[in-house]
Symmetry: C2
Subunit: 385 residues, 2 copies
């Protein structure tokens, strides 16, 4: 047993490549595709019974680097406050996997990857993909890691969609599900916001039908897309608290320079996004999100019938991008078919971002839920929560 | 007295030009500017006492053509269901004026107007303007029409900001105020949505620092701006009711063509906007809206002290762009200084668009309110409401 104050320390992203041209993967569209590489990280140790594996699935612009430090970097992974010795995902007890997804630009195969047929980046030659396709590829990764059944699958936002798709696609391989701030199908308003982002990217002449690799990037278009996104991630209240109507500067060099702090913030976040995200990935991934309809029109109740895994469903009151009613629909469907489901709606002013910012309550909820599903009776030290 | 079934019929937009270079208007910024033309329409007759004039102020993309028909056109003005004989704004009783605003592109002086100094459109040479500047120019129009005191000033959305500014700037010249679906100051979230629209326009290379007149227009940028706007005008519920997750077509010629009905709708509305709106006007007007802070930091209560005009304040439950709490703040400030204020929050799923779509209840509220402020005791024929 490791000491409680131990940290995860230095980690490295790993890569698993499969579906070589000889055994291409059939996508939901019917198209065959390969090879596929998935980037992933793991923390903690898989136990002898291979029964302590937890799969974490990240949101739109996240990556596989969920915890610990990459060599030479100052900032830890995006969910480091939740993953580690004594934390919600206690790496002394659990083997935690965070997997990136197909179509992304964080080490997994996506539109910026080299198409082996042409020797050039796929661009729009990349196939249309779905959340289900992402989950299918992640299942290959879990096979490769030698895990028959995951103790839990968890994700926030688009990660929650993957978690839901996991238990629907592979009910026998998922021990429990924790969908956070997410939905079982994308609403027209949610589609509309994504479509604005896509149109902003495609309106940028540098986008050039997706063929911009090695040339000028569609940075302005991606920046506008990111700005729209940021508004939807925050709330009216959190924006008022953070920015108010404060002015950034008094003398502006140009009439339409950012003057209000909120303008400067959005432009900064928008302009920086091009350094870490591929515009074509933004198109493909938002499209996959928009296609997401877990029940495919048949009703959640029907497709939940085969599921026995317990659910912990978490929503946030001020989240207007994935409003609580969408989580309630998931909870209702669970109850209607007898799935053991806990629904928690947490108070927070942070809007959708709450799933990344409201750590304490989530940590408690998840820690106790995992204890229960792991069947462990060990007494929890509250001070380390 | 005209018969009840009479319609407004054919109307023409009129123009009033003032502030000739010799007597330029001083803007809130301190800059002097002129000449200024305002487009406006009038319906009904001004009475002998000049006491029955109602000023209607329109929203961001509206115009002075509020009622009746322009020669040869099939569609009436934008608020024709509210203005006319026997309607809420009964043109048998009231002299109704609808004024366009400075900075627009609907017949009033704006960035697309010819700068008399250069003989070319102003573009970014146009001065920065505010809601207060718009109201100052409208006061010149009301002077010109020979009206000392308006019976009522009314507007929805940005029109409501002008109505509020009218009573604050000229408390002795406003008999009553009807702010609908509006706010006394723009919140960071509201600023953020406008800023996304501006950035989308300015990201379009055709925008060319505002110098695009007679050349290729920044149509794609304006389209994205309009798409963002449309999302904020509707509600999650109204979008679900109107579009659901319905597909527009099955076979798409291009991977990122609009597939969902909501995508097609937004693109259609976005693409058509360039035919009727000047991108530079969109920049200047949204900036004026963002600057809008009626109390300028001193508190509404303080600036409402000089006002005696009664208020009818209308908000809509599903309006998340100008949420009801912002109207409640106006109502609270009225009550605190003894202003006779009625606050009505109407049920509607239409979101912000409700101020244009929920006619019946608004018509009743406004009709009775105007009767009261006009001091008329005439019995209202319910069938004509």
């Amino acid at each position: 047993m490791v000491k409680r104050d131990k940290q995860i320390g230095i980690v490295e992203t790993q890569y698993y490549t499969f579906a070589y041209p000889s055994s291409e993967l059939e996508l939901e569209s019917g198209e065959k595709f390969g090879p596929i590489t998935l980037a992933y990280e793991t923390y903690g140790m898989l136990n002898r019974e291979r029964s302590n594996a937890i799969l974490i699935l990240h949101a739109l612009t996240g990556d596989a680097h969920a915890a610990g430090f990459h060599p030479g970097e100052k900032d830890p992974g995006w969910w480091d406050n939740m993953i580690g010795p004594g934390k919600a995902f206690d790496t002394e007890q659990y083997f935690v996997i965070c997997s990136n997804f197909l179509g992304g630009c964080k080490g997994s195969t996506g539109p910026a990857s080299i198409n082996p047929v042409t020797g050039r980046p796929y661009g729009l030659q990349f196939p249309v993909i779905t959340i289900k396709d992402m989950v299918t590829t992640q299942r290959h990764l879990i096979d490769y890691l030698g895990i028959q059944k995951l103790l839990a699958v968890i994700g926030g936002s688009m990660g929650g969609m993957q978690a839901l798709q996991w238990v629907v696609s592979y009910p026998d391989r998922v021990g429990s599900v924790i969908p956070v701030a997410t939905t079982a199908n994308h609403s027209p308003q949610q589609i509309a916001f994504n479509e604005v982002g896509r149109q902003a990217i495609m309106a940028d002449p540098n986008w050039n039908e997706g063929d911009y690799y090695g040339k000028d990037l569609p940075a302005k278009g991606l920046s506008v897309a990111r700005m729209v996104g940021h508004i939807t991630y925050m709330s009216d209240v959190s924006m008022s608290e953070k920015f108010g109507r404060k002015f950034k500067n008094i003398k502006q060099p140009f009439k339409f320079s950012p003057e209000f702090e909120v303008e400067g913030y959005l432009q900064y976040r928008g302009d920086n996004f091009i350094k870490r995200f591929d515009p074509n990935s933004y198109l493909y991934i938002t499209k996959a999100i928009d296609y997401f309809d877990l029940s495919n029109g048949t009703g959640l109740r029907e497709i939940f019938k085969r599921i026995t895994a317990p659910f912990l469903i978490i929503a946030f009151k001020s989240d207007w991008l994935y409003p609580a009613y969408q989580s309630q629909e998931i909870a209702r469907a669970c109850k209607l078919v007898g799935i053991d489901a806990i629904y928690c709606e947490l108070n927070s002013n942070y809007g959708h971002d709450a799933f990344l910012l409201e750590v304490n309550e989530q940590a408690h909820l998840i820690k106790y839920f995992l204890k229960r599903v792991a069947g462990s009776l060990e007494v929890i030290d509250e001070h380390n929560v």
